[in-house]
């Protein structure tokens, strides 16, 4: 019994450390969104800030990406915070799965700011996110709420609504 328990624990721990390629793909998606969304001029100065709410593997992937890429002339700055109240001026706020309960509060706080809120939870767009990652038949896709993007002053390429799952 003890051996079974130890084996069980070992498998659980190993399972937790296997590399998650999804975080790489999500960070690539996010970078790609920056090429297909136009922020108002006041958000085109200084650093291009991506704030990640919660501890998430995407932070390290975004930081790697930020070392070699820029958004136009803007340097990408990745900030990790643990609560919605710590969010500063950001071009993008990514709400990690573990902080999904804060999503509606985050989007409410940012409803007058041209900040793209990206989530990774079921119904994310219904809770205020502009873009939400979803798994469909084992494939990563994204939902997009065009109305939301327009309402906060973000212009988007028709490519995004063509490729994403539109959530009205």
């Amino acid at each position: 019994m003890k051996r079974v328990f130890i084996l069980f624990l070992f498998m659980v721990v190993m399972g937790s450390f296997i590399h998650a390629q999804q975080e790489l793909f999500k960070s690539l998606f996010i970078y790609s969104f920056t090429n297909n969304i136009n922020w108002p001029s006041e958000f085109k100065n200084g650093d291009f800030v991506i704030t990640v709410v919660g501890q998430d593997g995407i932070v390290s992937e975004l930081k790697k990406l930020a070392q070699s890429k820029k958004v136009g002339p803007q340097t990408i700055k990745v900030v990790q915070v643990n609560s919605a109240s710590e969010i500063g001026k950001s071009n993008i706020v990514y709400v990690s799965t573990s902080k999904s309960s804060t999503l509606s509060g985050v989007s409410e706080n940012l409803k007058n700011s041209p900040t793209l809120v990206i989530s990774d939870q079921n119904g994310g767009c219904k809770n205020g996110a502009g873009i939400n990652f979803v798994l469909v038949d084992g494939k990563m896709k994204f939902e997009i709420a065009p109305q939301k993007l327009t309402s906060i002053g973000l212009q988007y390429s028709p490519k995004l609504t063509g490729l994403g799952i539109v959530v009205e």
């Binding site: 793909f25 573990s98 999904s100 309960s101």
Partner: protein
Amino acid sequence: MRYIIFIFLSLFMTFASYAQEKKTRDFSTMTREEVLQLSMEEMTDLPIEDLMKLIEIAGVSSIEELYALLNKGVTSASKNEESLFDSPLSTTVLNHEEILASGATSIEEALRLVPGIIVREKTNGNYDVQIRGNQNMPMGNMLLYSENTTTLVMVDGRPVFNYGMGGILWETLPVSLGEIDRIEVVRGPSSALYGPNAVDGVINLITKNPTEKTSSVNFQGGTQNTFIGDMSMSDKISDKLYFGVSTYFEYRERNTDKIYAFADDDNNFDGGFLDLETYEKYNSDYLWSNDVPDDLFVNGDSRRAKQKIGANGYITYNPNGNLKFRLAGGYLGSEANTSTVGDNPTPYNIRQSKGGYTNFDANVYGINIKAALSDVVQDFNRGHKGWTQATEQYNLSADYLIRMGALQIRPGISYQSVYYDDRDYIDSIGSGYFNDRVALRNYAGSVRFDYTLFEKIRLVAALRAEKYNVPDKWIPSWQFVGSYKLNDNFLFRAVYSRANQSTFMINAFSNYTWNRDGLGSPEFVHFAGNKNPDMMTMDMFEFGFRARPTKAVYIDFEAFYNKANGFSALMPDSMVTTTFVGNPALGLVNPPISTTLYTSYQGQDVESQQIGASLAADVVLGSKLLLKAHATYQQTVLDRSMGVSRDAVAQNQIAQYYTTLQTDMYNLVTTGVFPKPTYSSDVQLPITMEKDDVKNESLPSFWGSLALIYRPMSKLEVMTQGYYYSNYVFNTQYGENKMDGKFLLNAKITYKATDNLSLFVNGRNIINTETQEFSYMDNIGGLYLAGLNYKF
């Protein structure tokens, strides 16, 4: 110089051809391994459409797919999308992939994966499903009282409850497994959110709503002539308009054509399974009933367990972000050979149902509006006159979510009316069950407050006031929840809630006379409704704890205590006997003695108290293996339990009648005073017979499931599930029946032949422990199937 020009031109041509190649590179031909070898640098330069192609080729790693099963969303617990981990109530979600992988052949069977739900099979494909229990109340009563009448089942938020006598007619649910996107289960009283009958909890079946072109075919067939299938297709007419249609069927047979007959002590029959011929003979010889068995099981169709065939369709129109509309409708014909709702010498009973529904959902500038109707003809007890009803149900509701920073307020209103009408299905008024078109109506106002403090503390208060036409009163229900999220990985929560049943048609409007001509006394039994019935009400306290210590582990624990009272039962009011007609000139005339037992739905003093706990764990054991386990323990104790059957009260009334008659006969001899022409005895059993601390063991004290999903390679998936429940004691008017616990082993092996086609073999109870799961019903053995899932 010529060399320089040549080199320059060569470099230019090479660069140009490279650029051309890069520009026109066909990513769709790349293999998954090639994609995974690409560097971040290479992929960041790609346009989003190419990036999407690559990500699609790479797919999600097997472990990520398993992790996704530990990070589900739910809407039923708060009427709003939220993470399952953050749900303030005891909540479980089964998504389509899990249901498909499990091999469950029905919605009910899939619920064996949900903690706190116990599922026992009665006949092939027909089940008893309970959330935490509290059924078989009051004890010592008809089989009907074993039905789960305290769980509200909905399809896309539309109640599909049996308001005739309470409970769920599972075979009449107009949805197939293939159409279900997910099943959301909320345990504990939830009337404040969903209205009456959400007492032990809510099961919300949410169907798929694709917004792109999809088609699918699912089929499986196997032993006991079991065939189950569905087909669906959906398409997009424009970016704003979508539609879908589906059809489904199910046919199953039992492993015997014999039916059970209850014990008959007068004729030394101990009870047991009989072939139809013997049943018919005993029924006639022993005066069991004046039923015509051929009407019960036409052409010997006692072997058939279940059949259903139906079709659904929907159309979705989203003209803009502020307006969304969805119209759905369907038609279903069904039949189930399962436990009776009546009082027959056999517990077997064929139920038939035929009809349609329409469901309209709209979101208009944030206001959620629902309008639904169903129009179904149901024969609850084939072969017995008076049980066929034309049923209509109308639902209207609206609610609106107001967000005020950390506070969310959701006010709402709702209305429901249900009609039953038997007049078209009876020979004459008086021979039916209601002999009328009868209606139950209720409307309600509700409000739900949801406040989050410092992103850690969440306080929820939901209040609802419901006005009923029977009884004519307002009844409140509520839910108060506090949760504390220690960090992203640990959450504690506490719930206090109250919920109630509604009145059912038979409780309110019964007006039925059972003619027992030729079967002995009483010659007639009259069933009367009660316009001011008690409403069963439950109060619950619950403590819960969730943990996600690593990405690979999800633990959910809940401990609950509940107290329920306000139970009703069909019990004798009085017994009226016409005896002698006394005439001084003629002496005694002795007409045929005729006795009528008058019964009605009466409130019972009994109170039920239940304490229990459920533990569930989902664990990703490496990249290929997922473990899903749950276990529930509960104890139920009754206070002020009379625990006697209707017959015990009736016999007491007979005894009173005989005592009075004896006295009057003595007076006739001694004083010449003639006896009365009719006698009425209405004596009830003394309250001193009520007992405290009586165990209600109709539900096992323990049940649980251990399932493993193993994906050794991308094309192969193996699911095994062990399901166990402990002994229980079924206490009805037929006596106390001790039932053994049972262990079931299920397994399904799926081979993904192509991206579109999966082939599988599926075994339910593969060790073939052929024993009864539900009292008096079939010995349920193994079921072995093979089939396919195809989508394109």
